[in-house]
């Protein structure tokens, strides 16, 4: 019986032992090879001190070791915490502290700039290094990744977890404050994988190209669906859209998931997509925001035999809706209907169901609703709430998305806007307050407010409105430079405007709606 994440890999390794499981540049691994190395790594992690439920960070770029680590941590009975390779040392240390990380899998190159920040993480006991560990001077116990992977696992393997146990923590931002860790159990991740595989009809014949990071739920699901179905997963590190097109062709990729910014890059003439028919590409899926209509039209004309699925999901509920490709021509702006085994309710402010056309909050009910935020029960209680339509004694928990939507007469959903100030740019969720905090750290400001402006390529671009401390001149370019030095690129404001004062609400808070109106929004 398959009830833990690594069981999906083991089952596929039994069914298709010699089949190609994982491809990265010149590396090609069969299922039995992946499963064997994962077992070795799980053995090594237990020997390193991993106990059931311990959180293990994975701070690696797209690579074979990254995939092995996710399954290795699962098999060892731990909880994997994928950390986006773009994050800065302070942000990585924040995540490590927040989840009480016990071990970290990374490279010597990535560890070096982190070493100082990790001193503030008392829970951290060991690191596992990919690619040479002799040169590292660390107060922590250091283990060699490849040596772990080569360990013979004890037979029989002693399984510790059950499907209700925590499998993963995915860090994501909200409307305020620091990133929060969304907790997913083994059952939730596996349900997401089964459901998406069902409506995308993913089989062992598929070859899926993973371009989204595994720290993002939709990215992780590429890995999970591929290994669950015994398909092949292809990893890529790319800068030029042209490299993606070449890989699609060379690897005869059949499935591709992306965010709107990615499709904008791919739809540009420089990608070479228009010169290259891709008859093998069976489907593509968009998530993380609305695909610009011009981009959608370009992709439809360049890829006439590819099914395009527009999807919607939020990490807190993993996956929520999709628009069947045959509906695309009739309702290209819809986010579709509920995924299988899931109910999507549009709830008004009184807790009742909205009528067609009426705007309400998207509420998700189904097996992929997460366990909430690690260490923040009060925030969890705001998002995971009792089902307003069922008797309380059923204790049915649903996920309030914070997204306003409306439903048409035929039950198709349309995104309207956010309930809060959260910004979504190039597929990242960005909290305005996190950007504002960095702006304040410059020491030059007495006021700062960050809003999102519509942007054709990014979805939203970030604009900062700042008020300088009395009598001090400020060059916005300098402030932008300060931002660029202190946060990842996707969080840096594209535009900074200096104001004499920020509009305030009667209670003295920054009046964000007034700032948006000022931009004509």
């Amino acid at each position: 019986m398959d009830f833990l994440i690594h069981h999906m890999l083991q089952a596929s390794a039994r069914r298709h032992s010699a089949k190609e499981a994982l491809v990265h540049a010149e590396e090609r691994l069969a299922y039995d090879d992946v499963a064997r190395r994962v077992s070795g790594l799980a053995t090594g992690l237990r020997e390193a001190g991993l106990e059931r439920g311990d959180r293990i960070g994975i701070y690696l770029d797209a690579s074979v070791p990254q995939v092995l680590s996710i399954f290795g941590v699962s098999q060892a009975g731990g909880v994997y915490v994928p950390v986006n390779g773009l994050l800065f040392p302070d942000q990585v240390a924040f995540i490590a502290r927040d989840c009480g990380m016990k071990g970290l899998i990374t490279t010597p190159e990535k560890l070096a700039p982190l070493a100082q920040a990790l001193k503030e993480v008392p829970s951290l006991e060991f690191v596992v290094l990919v690619g040479g560990f002799g040169l590292v001077d660390s107060p922590l116990a250091v283990h060699d990744f490849e040596a772990c992977c080569a360990l013979p696992p004890p037979s029989p393997w002693r399984e510790q977890a059950i499907e209700k146990d925590l499998a993963a923590i995915l860090y994501t931002s909200g409307s305020t404050g620091k990133p929060k860790g969304v907790m997913l159990s083994h059952a939730q991740v596996m349900a997401g994988s089964s459901i998406v595989s069902a409506y995308l009809r993913i089989t062992e014949a598929d070859r899926i190209l993973a371009v989204l990071p595994f720290s993002f739920d939709a990215g992780m699901n590429q890995l999970m669906t591929a290994f669950q179905q015994g398909a092949t997963l292809i990893l890529i590190n790319f800068v030029f859209a042209r490299e993606v097109v070449r890989t699609l062709l060379r690897e005869r990729v059949t499935g591709l998931a992306g965010v709107p910014t990615f499709w904008s890059l791919l739809a540009q003439p420089t990608s070479g997509l228009q010169k290259q028919p891709l008859p093998d590409l069976r489907y593509l899926t968009n998530t993380g925001g609305a695909m610009p209509q011009t981009v959608l039209a370009t992709l439809r004309s360049l890829l006439p035999s590819t099914d395009i699925f527009l999807m919607y999901g939020l990490t807190e509920a993993f996956r929520s809706t999709y628009l069947p490709p045959e509906e695309l021509a009739y309702r290209p702006t819809s986010i579709g209907k509920a995924i299988p085994d899931t109910e999507i309710l549009v709830i008004n402010e009184h807790g009742g169901l909205c009528k067609p056309g009426e705007v309400g909050e998207l509420v998700h009910r189904g097996p992929t609703v997460s366990l909430g935020y690690w260490g923040h029960p009060e925030l969890t209680a705001k998002v995971l709430r009792p089902n307003p339509l069922l008797p309380p004694e059923l204790a049915d928990v649903v996920c309030y998305s914070g997204d306003y939507v409306k439903m048409d007469e035929e039950g198709y959903l349309y995104f309207v806007g956010r309930r809060d100030a959260m910004i979504k740019s190039s597929g990242f969720r960005i909290s305005p307050t996190e950007v504002e905090e960095v702006l304040f750290r410059s020491g030059r400001l007495k006021g700062a407010a960050v809003i999102g402006l519509p942007d054709e390529v990014l979805g939203q671009s970030i604009k900062a409105l700042v008020v300088v401390r009395d009598g001090e001149p400020l060059d916005p370019a300098q402030l932008r430079e300060f931002c660029a030095a202190n946060m990842p690129r996707h969080m840096v404001p594209k535009v900074i405007e200096v104001l004499d004062d920020l509009p305030k609400t009667p209670s003295g808070k920054v009046d964000y709606p007034a700032l948006r109106r000022r931009e004509g929004l």
Partner: protein, 87 residues
Amino acid sequence: MTLHPITVRIREFLIEHFPSARKHPLTEDDHLLANGIVDSLGVLDLVAYLEREFNIAVGDDDLVPEHFESLRRLTAFVQDRMSVGSR
């Protein structure tokens, strides 16, 4: 060692626009792409800058890692395109 004037200008642009170019002193041979200093969106900004600043045309086929891998490669690429333009 003195850097080529083209290298200096591109380096200044990178340092101003790409935060991770500042984590260490950026040398001529640092890997800009593999180290994630320039990402897929950033490369579009970089191309626009090169076209504007050096008055060169960057064609579809020029968008390959070999030309953008390092400051040294970028400088050679810009020099090459500038000589094409003047022929």
